[in-house]
């Protein structure tokens, strides 16, 4: 029964004609300049191929119809993969179905249905030696299977498949490249049904993609996300394999990636000059400027060339502001499909424009270019908040600070640049925009007056905003406002207990704000700031109180200690000063414990303002003044 072909030759011809027509349609779509039209044509062709495959597979498998059926399967997979821009489970199933159909004709399928794809390929290739007419289509299908396994890291299967295709016996995955090179798919017959991409073409793509992949698979270097953790021990190996790839033939976008990765690798190996050469090469590639520019900025930062570093960051911002004019992908299996997706952790990820802008602004602030920093921060805020643009701009995503912190950094930069009024505006904007999230202030005041015990909690950045506002007032010379802001800040800070979960403002990036150290340092900063204001107003006793508190809060904080010493001296409380100085001396001999901790940038900046200007001289002076009377 199953050997009788219900469809006459006419039907087969019809289907074949249909296949050829769909392939031609896909090629028309390929050439179409209008992307929408092209997408539509491709989708229609895909749907047509799906239906055709369905009707072909509705009949019992038969040898005369199989070459066409396998060709349609290949066309379907190729088109589907390129439309979806990636391999999915569907494609694997389509391949499996095709293989099972081949076995069905040989009545070998039997009960062993749950065979793996690898075994299926074995049996099919065994069978196909008896059916030479199937070979061209089968090789094409094998090429697709290879691409699929390559993209999903199934190298062992791939090696076995290539071995069986070549008919060789020995070998391991080391010889994968060799296997691939020796694989010579049979030539397509001239009267065969049309195919989108023949086995030879697939082989060429695989060869390129494969050499591009080897390093990333063997040593997780550049193209995979685990780069950062695993790179340390493997740098030289990574380097050599990257060199190998770079010397081979690969398309330009891939080459740009490889050059960038080479730059990263060489930079980490301490070869900045050679790294620079590769990065320049990558920039000449011209397609994706982001990653090499970002890498260049890192390189310059390492070299200490701040001007060049900032310049590359500015270029990066500019490069990212241009809409990526990505070419429409070909409707074929291409090397890019085989490369692993880029990962935020990989050096090939350059983020978005606003992320770059934030990086630029914060680097400016860190390197002391306050005016530039202020400008960049204002640009960034405008970019983020401007809703009128049809295109949204994202905030710096989680690796960076959360949005309130960006505001605070901007305010700090403005104060640093001497634009206190602008800083006040930014702070007010921040508070007004988040006012709905904050506990009701009227309630707060009422409770404060009543002395109610359960007080509402405020996010840390609210207190920090008041701190910066106070600093802005200081700069504007308005002591009264400054003191009241600092007091408000302290009031909020002393309510916040670090263990409390933030309420009301669940943000995914507030870990930094929540840390105990940040809270302590914020308190110290606010106390010192207020103390300094008291000093400025000549109220040394109040200042002393605040400095004492701040020293209690952060025993290791040298700034607070020195302010305290100075105040004690001014008040002429010599004995206390001496006692405190001795304590301080003893402390300095102990190792500093939290030196590694990095505070939020705005807090660092703020702390730099309240640092006593003549730090060491003051101490030295004090040492002599303390020691002298003892000598007497």
């Amino acid at each position: 029964m199953s050997h009788q072909m219900p469809q006459g030759p006419n039907c087969l011809d019809l289907w074949r004609e249909k296949n050829d027509q769909l392939v031609r349609q896909a090629k028309v779509a390929q050439d179409s300049s209008l992307s929408l039209r092209r997408q539509q044509l491709a989708q229609d062709a895909l749907e047509g191929l799906r239906e055709l495959l369905h009707s072909l597979q509705g009949l019992p498998a038969a040898v005369p119809a199989l070459p066409l059926e396998l060709t349609v399967t290949c066309n379907f997979i190729i088109l589907k993969t390129s439309v979806a821009q990636g391999f999915t489970e569907d494609q694997a199933q389509a391949i499996q179905r095709g293989l099972e159909r081949v076995l069905e004709t040989q009545e070998q399928l039997g009960p062993r249905l749950e065979r793996g794809l690898g075994e299926l390929w074995d049996s099919v290739l065994h069978v196909s030696s008896l059916l030479p007419e199937l070979l061209p289509a089968l090789h094409c299908l094998a090429g697709l299977q290879a691409a699929l396994w390559l993209s999903t890291d199934h190298l062992r299967y791939l090696a076995l498949l290539l071995q069986s295709l070549n008919g060789s016996q020995s070998g391991s995955s080391e010889d994968l490249l060799l296997h691939l090179k020796t694989w010579s798919p049979p030539a397509e017959e001239s009267d065969a049904p049309l195919i989108l991409q023949d086995a030879q073409g697939l082989r060429d793509v695989l060869l390129t993609g494969f050499s591009g992949l080897i390093p990333s698979l063997s040593y997780p270097i550049q193209l995979h996300g685990t780069y950062l953790e695993l790179i340390i021990g493997n740098l030289p190996k990574a380097l050599s394999s990257l060199h190998e790839v770079a010397s081979g033939l690969c398309p330009r976008p891939v080459l740009v990636q490889v050059y960038t990765a080479l730059g990263t690798c060489l930079r980490k190996m301490g070869n900045p000059q050679r790294a620079l050469v590769y990065l320049v090469e990558a920039l000449k590639g011209g397609s994706a400027l982001g990653p090499p520019l970002l890498e260049a900025s890192r390189l310059y930062q390492q070299l200490g060339d701040t001007a060049a570093e900032l310049e590359s960051l500015e270029l990066l911002v500019e490069a990212l502001s241009v809409t990526q004019s990505s070419e429409a992908p070909q409707l074929l299996i291409e090397v890019e499909l085989l490369l692993p997706q880029s990962d935020p952790a990989s050096p090939l990820h350059c983020g978005t424009q606003s992320q770059a802008k934030h990086l630029l602004a914060s680097r400016c602030l860190q390197t002391g270019r306050a005016e530039d920093a202020a400008e960049h921060y204002l640009d960034l805020l405008a970019l983020l908040l401007d809703g009128s643009e049809p295109r949204f701009s994202p905030p710096p995503s989680p690796p960076g600070p959360c949005m309130p912190e960006v505001f605070l950094e901007a305010a700090a930069a403005l104060i640093q640049a001497g634009r206190a009024q602008d800083a006040l505006t930014v702070c007010e904007e921040l508070l007004s925009r988040t006012s709905s999230l904050l506990p009701k202030m009227s309630q707060l005041w009422k409770d404060a007056r009543k002395g109610t015990k359960d007080l509402p909690h405020c996010p840390l950045w609210v207190s920090a905003t008041h701190l910066l506002q106070g600093q802005a007032w200081v700069q504007l010379g308005s002591q009264k406002e400054a003191v009241s802001e600092f007091s408000w800040c302290l009031e909020l800070l002393f309510r916040a207990t670090p263990k409390d979960k933030e309420q009301g403002a669940p943000s995914n990036c507030e870990q930094g704000c929540k840390s105990d150290v940040t809270l302590q340092q914020l308190r110290a900063a606010a106390l010192i700031s207020r103390g300094l204001e008291w000093v400025a107003r000549g109220q040394d006793t109040k200042a002393l109180q605040d400095f004492l508190l701040s020293v209690q809060m952060c025993p290791g904080n040298r700034d607070a200690s020195i302010h305290l010493l100075q105040t004690l001296r001014r008040l002429d409380r010599r004995d206390e000063a001496t006692a405190f100085w001795w304590r301080l001396e003893a402390q300095t001999k102990l190792p500093q414990k939290d030196a590694t901790w990095s505070l939020p940038l705005y807090l660092e900046t703020c702390l730099s303002w309240i640092r006593p200007s003549d730090h060491e001289t003051c101490l030295e002076e004090f040492r002599t003044s303390v020691l002298e009377p003892r000598d007497l």
Partner: protein
């Protein structure tokens, strides 16, 4: 006026005086609500799944299943409408349906399941192979080709289990995900775009509470997504913009708000607080109400409401409540005044979420929002099977107007007075009588639709009850009648017939209904054919095949005949004996399940699924009817005895072995017969012998007219359909052909056994089976023994006593047999260890011993 609904996802939208309607088919209708006229109809290339209107741009976006998103310009539409008006002033349907071509397609993507439109962007939800994927596109306009790289963001949501479908062909999803866009109130984006079911504005507190400080600071709209698995997740839109090369990190971007544990049908927002504050703030009247409560409805009625409130310390905390509404929910809508409307197949209900929010302590009006009501009491609006709802924007102040589409395709308008205590279908009071009559008529139509629906449901339930009652009767009748003929019986006979150029042994099962009851829908006859395991292959259990035949209608006295093939199997072999068991099965699922399904008046796919936990684990009732064994004796054929005049074609008779061989070679299906016939020619036939006391047989057969031998042979072949020839002549031996083609010779003769009995020789009938095929001897022997066993058991029940026996002789026979058995054991052991040469001799010896064993000197008495 639409005449029924196709399966799909109906939608209705209204804008000013126009209503846009899709019934789930390929058509989208445009209605003029003022005049009640159909003004235009558009045919899309696929099933329409979702409609959304971008009012300020006057554009209608339509999602076609498996095609993509199409965009129609309303300006263009109204122009064509005005042309239509000229043509059809008498209020007829527009003369033609306007087909929508591929030019209007703005986003071709077959995997899209939902979308929502914002002013500048199009947010889509596509179904990937293992994950849902939210994508963000620059809003494409009709006719324009969007720039390449129009996609500006992408993120993958949680994994889902893909519906079980044919591989490579995606199954039609039962439930579509729900997408909507939530904006913060201060959003700089023009307010006008927030229109339709797709978008709404939440108050700052709730917005910040749900979506975090970043979203609040950025004033970014948030995409809310309700998935068929019950997840409710949110994505901050401004954070979603990612580079094309890297999809966003789901962990950072997607936040799961809640899990409803049933398919999410609807997401909406409403205002539960009194509007007083808003009046002070001089909000633009009407549309842009800032909602303070987010609502999500699941298919089975689980409802989630979230509000922001302040705890005692003044901290902002979410207040989250889950309610259970009657389900299954078909659709829902949020109206003004804190009301949620939801429709089930049997009613349209309204619940009031604002009811609990009157401030508990009037002295503290600034206490903040009041709580959500602890319980919801649905109030009926007396309309059933509303499949889609929309709250109209043109209602006068204080009223709500609902636009509803019923399952039968009627578009209805409900006007609800919010101030009336008892909500109901109150007519818009107009002075003129014509309008009133119109409303009354519409009310009647409404009621009649509801009645017809309920009637149908009742009918179905009655039918199911009747059917169940019948089934009970039948079961009782069958199970209680232990003796005598059963009221419903099934008899099985075996016969040879010629099918497709091949002789086939068939079993015919005759189902007879002699009871007073009726076997109707839901009953099936299950026939199980169980082949015995092959003697050569001890490990393999026999293969069982079950045939299921629906007993369509079998009244009292009716008969149904079913013929099933028993062999030859695929390799041409017969595995006799074959056991045929017949069972009656009553499917509860088929009968009861259908009646319990809420409605089949329209083919909404999720209505056809059975409500969970209603049916017991057991799916039906199983009543065994009969069990019959077809053995070799029943399948013997007697070509040699056939009268020459009969047209029965000569079967493989005694033929030249060479011919037989050649013939066998020609048919690859019948391998075994080749060697068998060869052996038949060259090997001595195998023999087996059974002896039965003549007295016993005579008593059993009760037929004294014939010689005992003939009677015995007849008795043995009684169930053989081809044995008429044997019956016609008084034969004491017969030559037959076994199903596999080997000859089988049955010889019955009377002998006297002298040594056995003390009282002298006893008359004994000896049945000898001879065949060239050892397997057939075994089968025949087995069949004869089987008959003997039945006979002896029957006779033993009648209490006949055996004559005195010579115990000494019996012992000796027994000893002999034991020696033989021991030898068999030893020989078999040797066979395992010996080499080829000597094993041949051993095998020879083994065969001899077996032969001795087959010819015992014992007699059945």
């Amino acid at each position: 006026p639409l005449g029924g609904l196709a399966s799909g996802k109906p939608r209705v939208l209204c804008h000013e005086a126009e209503a846009f309607l899709s019934t789930g088919s390929e058509l989208v209708y445009v209605y003029d609500l003022e005049g009640g006229l159909l003004t235009a109809a558009y045919r899309f290339p696929g099933q329409v799944w979702h409609l959304e209107l971008l009012a300020p741009r006057r554009a209608l976006y339509v999602l076609c299943a498996g095609k993509g998103i199409y965009c129609l310009s309303l300006d263009h539409l109204s122009r064509s409408t005005s042309q239509d008006d000229g043509d059809s002033e008498d209020g007829e349907l527009p003369s033609s349906v306007v087909p929508v071509g591929p030019d209007a397609c703005v986003l071709p993507d077959a995997s899209l399941c939902a979308f929502t439109v914002l002013d500048g962007t199009l947010v889509t939800l596509a179904q990937g192979p293992t994950q849902w994927k939210i994508q963000l596109f620059e809003r494409p306009c009709p006719g324009e080709d969007p720039q390449p790289g129009g996609q500006i963001g992408e993120v993958e949501l949680s994994t889902y289990t893909p519906p079980a479908g044919v591989p490579g062909k995606p199954a039609d999803p039962c439930f579509l995900p729900v997408l909507c866009c939530v904006s913060p109130p201060a959003s700089r984006v023009p307010h006008g775009h927030l229109w339709g079911s797709g978008s709404f504005t939440l108050k700052e507190a709730l917005f910040g509470l749900l979506f975090g400080a970043d979203a609040t600071l950025l004033e970014s709209p948030v995409i809310l997504c309700g998935l068929p698995d019950g997840q409710l997740c949110s994505v901050v839109l401004k954070a979603l913009v990612t580079s094309r090369s890297a999809p966003g990190d789901p962990k950072a971007l997607v936040k799961i708000l809640h899990h409803l544990e049933e398919p999410v049908i609807f997401i909406g927002a409403l205002r539960t607080e009194p509007q007083a504050e808003e009046a002070a703030e001089e909000m633009p009247p009407g549309e842009d109400v800032h909602s303070d409560c987010l609502v999500a409805l699941g298919h089975y009625g689980r409802t989630l409401a979230i509000k922001a409130s302040w705890d005692k310390a003044g901290n902002l905390v979410p207040e989250l409540r889950e309610y259970c509404l009657p389900g299954p929910v078909l659709c829902a809508a949020c109206g003004g005044g804190g009301r949620v409307y939801h429709s089930t197949p049997s009613d349209l209900c309204m619940v009031d979420l604002a009811r609990g929010s009157t401030p508990s302590d009037p002295t503290q009006p600034e206490e903040g929002p009041g709580g959500l009501p602890p319980l919801l009491c649905p109030a009926s609006l007396s309309a059933c099977s509303v499949v889609t709802l929309s709250v109209s924007s043109r209602a006068p102040e204080g009223d709500t107007e609902l636009l509803a589409l019923s399952a039968k395709g009627r578009l209805m308008t409900f006007s609800l007075d919010l101030n009336s205590e008892v909500p109901g279908l109150s007519a818009v009071s107009r002075a003129d009588t014509g309008q009133k009559i119109k409303e009354l008529l519409s009310g009647i139509g409404n009621v009649s639709e509801r009645v017809s629906f309920l009637k149908k449901a009742v009918d179905q339930r009655n039918k199911a009850l009747t059917s169940l009652n019948e089934a009970m009767n039948v079961s009782c009748a069958l199970l209680s009648s232990r003796e005598g003929p059963r009221p419903i019986s099934c008899t099985t006979t075996a016969a040879w017939s010629r099918l497709q150029m091949q002789d086939v042994l068939t079993a015919t099962c005759l189902l007879e209904n002699r009871s007073a009851f009726h076997l109707g829908q839901g009953w099936t006859l299950c026939v199980q054919v169980l082949t015995s395991c092959s003697a050569l292959d001890l490990d393999s259990a026999g293969a069982a095949t079950t045939y299921t035949i629906p007993v369509d209608q079998l009244g009292p006295g009716g008969q149904r005949e079913v013929t099933l093939p028993l062999g030859p199997g695929e390799n041409g072999s017969f595995d006799l004996p074959v056991t045929v068991s017949c069972t009656l099965f009553y499917s509860l699922r088929e009968v009861v399940g259908r009646a319990l399904a809420p409605s089949d008046s329209f083919e909404e796919p999720f209505l056809d699924e059975e409500p969970p936990d209603v049916l017991p684990e057991q799916e039906g009732i199983c009543l065994p009817l009969s069990r019959h064994t077809v053995d070799l004796l029943q399948s013997l054929r007697f070509p040699g005895l056939a009268p020459p005049c009969t047209q029965a074609p000569p079967l493989r008779g005694p033929a030249d072995p060479v011919d037989t061989f050649l013939e066998a070679r020609r048919e690859p299906g019948s391998h075994p017969s080749g060697p068998a016939s060869l052996r038949a020619a060259y090997l001595p036939p195998s023999v087996a012998c059974i002896k039965v006391s003549a007295e016993l047989l005579r008593a059993a057969l009760e037929d004294s007219r014939l010689p005992l031998c003939c009677a015995t042979l007849r008795w043995l072949l009684a169930e053989n359909a081809a044995a008429d020839v044997v019956r016609a002549r008084a034969l004491s031996s017969v030559q037959g052909v076994a199903p596999d083609g080997a000859d089988v010779h049955l010889i019955v003769r009377e002998v006297a056994v002298t040594d056995l009995c003390l009282a002298g020789p006893i008359q004994v009938v000896e049945i000898q089976v001879e065949s060239s095929s050892l397997a057939d001897v075994c089968r025949a022997h087995h069949a004869v023994i089987g008959r003997m066993q039945t006979m002896v058991t029957q006779q033993a029940a009648q209490g006949s006593s055996p004559p005195d026996l010579r115990v000494q002789y019996l012992r000796q026979i027994h000893a002999n047999h034991e020696a033989l058995l021991r030898e068999v054991q030893a020989l078999r052991d040797r066979l395992c260890v010996e080499d080829e040469a000597s094993s041949c001799a051993t095998a020879q010896r083994l065969l001899q011993v077996y032969k001795q064993l087959r010819n015992p000197s014992l007699v059945l008495l």
